[in-house]
């Protein structure tokens, strides 16, 4: 019962749908990053700490985007 329903659900997922989700997440990420960078550059008191956290933020986000990209590239409709 459960696998059949899941198969139906999986059929709804297309590369275009994944691409749309990817684009939406990229837009959200860009907007939030802009706000965070604004705050860090304007109110961050310790440039070294802010610099490290900024690097960590973008590295981590880069790994997440790489996972998503790999998922889209490996996806076979």
């Amino acid at each position: 019962m459960l696998p059949f329903q899941l198969n139906d659900l999986l059929r709804l997922i297309t590369p275009n749908a994944l691409g749309a989700v990817f684009a939406l997440m990229t837009a959200i990420f860009a907007a939030v990053s802009w706000v965070l960078l604004y705050h860090w550059s304007r109110y961050g008191y310790n440039p070294t700490m802010i610099g490290r956290m900024r690097a960590l933020y973008f590295w981590g986000a880069g790994v997440c985007f790489a996972l998503m990209t790999a998922g889209i590239l490996l996806f076979e409709s």
Binding site: L36, F75, E76
Partner: protein, 185 residues
């Protein structure tokens, strides 16, 4: 950034204890484990052989981690930009409530009448954090530095600065009615 007055130096920057950030983000750490839980459930029910299982797992995990990553950094920014700056002349309370709400208030060191420390609870006692309450004479009201690490050290810093400033004022010919100069602590 804070604009300092002539001759003013930053003595200490005090943030809330790391435990506060940990408590706020503990739920996120647990949520970050969700993809692993989903994979285990799929494996147990023998659903890992479904078409496109691996690509969808990669995509879903990436999406999930990114959302959590963004929320974590929003929480961290709120934590990091919430700061009390103790300078040689003032205490500046900068409160970052969220990304779009921020307030700054300050009181002059010589206006401080009393500083008290409160440490409540098991964790606060063992991790050494607590509240520092500052009573002022002016209109700025009372300040509370919440969940600061080593609150007794913060209190000592404030008293030391007050004493130093009272000494400077006396040398400059001014009489300052400070609790410390009158021996009341």
């Amino acid at each position: 950034m804070i604009s300092l007055q002539p001759g003013e130096t930053v003595v200490a920057e005090v943030r809330r204890h790391w435990y506060v950030l940990f408590a706020e983000t503990l739920g996120l750490f647990i949520l970050a484990l969700m993809p692993i839980l989903v994979i285990v459930i799929f494996d147990v029910f023998d659903l890992a052989t479904l078409p496109n299982f691996i690509p969808l797992t990669l995509f879903g995990s990436g999406l999930w981690f990114l959302a959590i990553w963004i929320i974590f950094f929003i929480v961290w920014t709120d934590y990091y930009l919430d700061v009390w700056v103790i300078t040689s002349k003032r205490i500046i309370d900068i409160e970052q409530r969220n990304l779009f709400s921020r307030s700054t208030s300050e009181c002059r060191i010589e206006k401080i009448q009393d500083v008290s420390v409160e440490v409540h609870g098991f964790l606060a006692t063992f991790l050494r954090f607590g509240n520092v309450k500052i009573q002022t004479a002016g209109e700025s009201g009372n300040f509370t530095l919440k969940s600061v690490p080593d609150p007794h050290r913060v209190k000592d810093i404030i008293f030391k600065e007050q004493e130093r400033q009272a000494g400077e004022s006396r040398r400059g010919g001014q009489v300052v009615s400070s609790p410390l100069s009158s021996g009341v602590v």
